[in-house]
């Protein structure tokens, strides 16, 4: 297999190094002596998948700390896929070059709604039936986890089970169980696996719909199947497994550096943010742990940069001490520190100045909305002054370009808010002209708001493609020298929106879209809206039902049975406050906001960075 790939196949494809494996720090376990054989499948190309921290954690965790085995597989680029199909080469894992069908478990990472078609394509390339109901005892168990699995329903047709929440908690236990129930018939096996906390087996539930199309009921088929599926939580992140020996890819991957996860979760409470709701509560690592992990990773990889990852790294209470410590220890060896996301305030800029050894090219900030009113609605607790102070500090210390992220189509948005974005951009440009010696460039990227399950905005309607296009053409009329606007594709956001709050009936849409030729939908060069449009028509489902409708508080939502720890009452309260333009503070600074996660999971927010300074924003 390997010989054939190297001789006949790989010389004919672009970037063949994607498909060879054998990187430094790869783990090749003995096939025969490993207990459960699982493959971690990432539904995008190698350089995207290898940048994902969750995959790095699970790979090390299973291979280093258990007797099970976890190999890797990624979506082949279309040129490689074509050759594989022509030459009859099944999708294989990079460690053993074995076909995916040889594994007992195939686990997909669901990071993005539109990666669905790539998943179907990978299963098909692997010779595994794409529909769960068509798989037999001989086929692998097909699993999915990751943030998108918090609303698993649109993907039910394709997965035998889902893993909800922190994978390092659930996966070792799940694999032990898979081994224990190995001899049972498939459906019986799945029924046993559904007892593992955090595991959802869709075929064990019966779903009924009302005449208006909304969900009427969702009932377990057997009394021993849980009515609600609770997410898993790593209670102590500081002591949790983290890989000291990550794989060092040969090719340049998207995030080609050592990565530290400084904390998990975020409690700023932005009302549009899915990750901010489902990954509660905040759990930090200590500065000592992070310094030790940085040292180990740098020694074992030789990377020239270490990045501090989390949902909001500047909120980590030890960020100042950690950054200074890392620079002191590794800076003289030419190792840099990267802060992937900056908070909108002057403290962030000061810290960024310290780590920015590279030329100060582009500073990225995310005010999200153009007026204070709308920022209050979404609970993005950033004031105009904070933003202008941050920008002023940046231009004064030599930055020459600023990139600003906004969303259009937010709940309650009016033309004033769109004008607000434009005025804000002009003001930032004016500050740049005043404080920078050279001409400055302002870039702004406008995403289309997509309401997500498990957030306070889960009941809100999403703007239609037409509404969004109108807003986009209104805004593009604005032209100023040195200010560039770019917009996300409103059709892509529309499809994301359908799946983000979809139900089981969408399985046929996803399947038909793939049959029509949809693949790599997240890549603009491969995105073809017509494949999806046709699939929607074929299904007879009304897309407006999923995206444009105002859902009532009484409605049973398809993802209600997934227990993220945050109560529906809290989400509802937050949605009500949003309508009144009231903000909610971060519970680390003020009182508990009553989201429900701590009492429900008997956990607490866990702050270990030590400094109070980073609390203030």
């Amino acid at each position: 297999m390997q010989d054939r790939l190297f001789r006949d196949i790989l010389p004919r494809v672009s970037k063949p190094i994607r498909y060879t494996g054998n990187e430094l720090n790869v783990i090749k376990k003995n096939w025969e002596s490993s207990r459960v054989k699982m493959v971690f499948a990432f539904p995008d190309v190698y350089e995207v998948g290898m940048s994902h921290i969750g995959g790095r954690i699970l790979y090390g965790l299973i291979n280093e700390t258990t007797d099970h085995l976890l190999e890797r597989s990624f979506a082949p680029w279309p040129d490689m896929e074509k050759l594989m199909r022509e030459e009859g080469i099944p999708l294989y894992a990079l460690e053993s070059y074995r076909p995916l069908a040889d594994f007992e478990v195939v686990g997909f990472s669901l990071q993005y709604e539109l990666s669905a078609t790539n998943i179907l394509n990978m299963l098909d390339l692997a010779g595994i039936p794409v529909f769960s109901r068509e798989r037999t005892d001989e086929d692998p168990l097909v699993l999915a986890g990751g943030p998108v699995a918090f609303n698993p329903e649109p993907f039910c047709d394709f997965f035998d089970m889902f893993m909800i929440g922190d994978g390092e908690e659930a996966l070792p236990e799940l694999l032990d169980e898979v081994e224990r129930v190995r001899k049972l018939p498939r459906q019986e096996k799945l029924r046993q696996l559904a007892k593992v906390e955090g595991i959802y087996v869709p075929s064990l539930y019966k779903v009924a719909y009302d005449d208006d199309g909304s969900l009427a009921s969702m009932e377990p088929l057997y009394p021993d199947v849980p009515r609600r599926v609770r997410k898993r939580i790593v209670a102590n992140l500081d002591e949790a497994y983290y890989p000291d020996n990550p794989i060092l890819p040969y090719m340049t991957v998207v995030h080609d550096r050592a990565v530290l996860e400084v904390m998990r979760g975020c409690q700023r409470g932005c009302r549009f943010c899915h990750a901010g709701m489902v990954y509660r509560p905040v759990r930090e690592k200590s500065v000592e742990t992070l310094q030790r992990q940085a040292r180990a990773q740098l020694e074992n990889t030789g990377y020239e940069e270490v990045s501090l990852a989390s949902l909001s790294t500047l909120d980590y209470t030890g960020v100042d001490q950690l950054v200074k410590g890392l620079i002191e220890e590794h800076g003289s060896k030419g190792v840099g520190v990267a802060l992937p996301s900056l908070r909108v305030d002057a403290f962030s800029i000061d810290l960024a100045n310290e780590v920015q050894k590279v030329r100060k090219t582009t500073l990225t900030l995310a005010p999200e909305a153009g007026t204070q009113r709308l920022r209050d609605v979404i609970n993005k607790n950033v004031t105009q002054e904070q933003l202008y102070d941050a920008v002023k500090a940046a231009f004064q210390s030599g930055w020459r370009a600023v990139k600003l992220y906004f969303m259009i189509g937010l709940p309650t948005e009016t033309q004033e808010d769109l004008d607000g974005i434009l005025q804000l951009l002009e003001e930032v440009k004016r500050i740049g002209n005043q404080y920078s010696r050279r001409s400055v460039e302002i870039r702004s990227s406008m995403a289309c708001f997509v309401p997500k399950a498990h957030t306070p905005f889960q009941w809100q309607p999403q703007n239609s493609i037409e509404e969004l296009q109108e807003k986009i053409s209104y805004m593009t009329r604005f032209r100023r020298k040195g200010i560039k606007l770019s917009f996300h594709d409103s059709r892509v956001s529309f499809l994301e929106g359908i799946i983000a709050r979809g139900d089981r009936r969408l399985g046929q849409v996803i399947y038909n879209a793939w049959k029509n030729g949809a693949i790599f939908d997240g890549w603009s060069e491969y995105f073809h809206f017509e494949h999806w449009q046709k699939a929607l028509e074929e299904s007879g489902l009304d897309p407006a039902f999923y995206v444009s409708r105002n859902r009532s508080y009484d409605e049973l939502l398809p993802w209600d049975f997934i227990d993220s720890g945050v109560t529906k009452a809290y989400l509802r309260h937050e949605n009500d406050k949003a309508q009144r333009g009231e903000t909610t503070m971060d519970c680390r600074q003020e009182d508990c906001t009553g989201c429900g996660v701590c009492p429900s999971f008997e956990v607490e927010i866990d702050l270990r960075g030590g400094s109070e300074r980073a609390h203030q924003s």
């Binding site: 790989l10 010389p11 090719m251 740098l298 030789g302 020239e304 050894k357």
Partner: protein, 224 residues
């Protein structure tokens, strides 16, 4: 201190691009804690310069890089330390100190040898070699910057030889590299096909080495 090292890239690493190989070396230098020199400026990088680009898909027996050290280190120790941390398939063969002002690899190397392992009889291969050496002009469509323009390879072909290679024969060809005349390996492939080598007869291609050619004599970059 300036070091020039000779290394090999095995068949398992044949799909690395030049940038990939450079990153692999830089990271190995860091893991091995080699006392490399860093460049000045905002974004310091290791003072490492790679020789001529090994095309993606080829493995190489004698490739070269130059490295500046901040503190002296015996070249033998450097080879040993790097070989401990390099992935299987990459190997430092030898290294030596060179003059601080010695010409760079890119300037010095002007000849490369490629080996084509062919599934053909010795007679067929030697006939092709003779044809090539006897030709006055060998026009092929250029793969380089002037893509599609006819290019005469003859002046850039210095020698051809046939050697036994396992149960097959290897056609070894020495060609111009860099300045003044650069012959790309894919141009040689075109030439061989033009001369009657069927594509499926080429079992493997590797770069045997890089040389400094002076008055028709070949020297290793470590000698000059």
């Amino acid at each position: 201190m300036r070091i020039r090292a000779e290394y090999s890239i095995g068949p398992e690493l044949r799909f690395l691009s030049n940038l990939d190989t450079m990153h692999m070396m830089e990271r190995a230098l860091r893991r091995a804690k080699i006392p490399f020199a860093l460049s000045e400026g905002f974004n310091p990088h290791i003072r490492l310069s790679m020789g001529t680009v090994l095309p993606v898909g080829l493995w190489g027996k004698k490739e070269y890089f130059d490295l500046e050290l901040q503190q002296p280190m015996p070249p033998g120790e450097l080879c040993e330390a790097l070989n401990k941390v390099l992935p299987a398939g990459a190997h430092i063969v030898q290294a030596r100190e060179i003059e601080r002002n010695a010409p760079s690899l890119m300037k010095a190397v002007n000849c490369a040898a490629y080996g084509f392992i062919l599934q053909m009889s010795q007679e067929e291969i030697s006939r092709i070699c003779q044809n090539i050496l006897n030709a006055e002009k060998l026009l092929i469509s250029s793969w380089g910057k002037k893509k599609g323009v006819d290019k005469d390879l003859r002046k850039g072909i210095y020698n051809i030889d046939i050697q036994p290679y396992e149960e097959f024969f290897c056609l070894m060809i020495w060609v111009g590299a860099g300045e003044p005349l650069n012959i790309r390996y894919d141009e040689i492939v075109d030439l061989l096909q033009q001369q009657g080598v069927p594509p499926q007869a080429i079992l493997d291609v590797f770069r045997e080495g890089n040389y400094i050619r002076i008055d028709e004599e070949l020297y290793s970059p470590l000698e000059r």
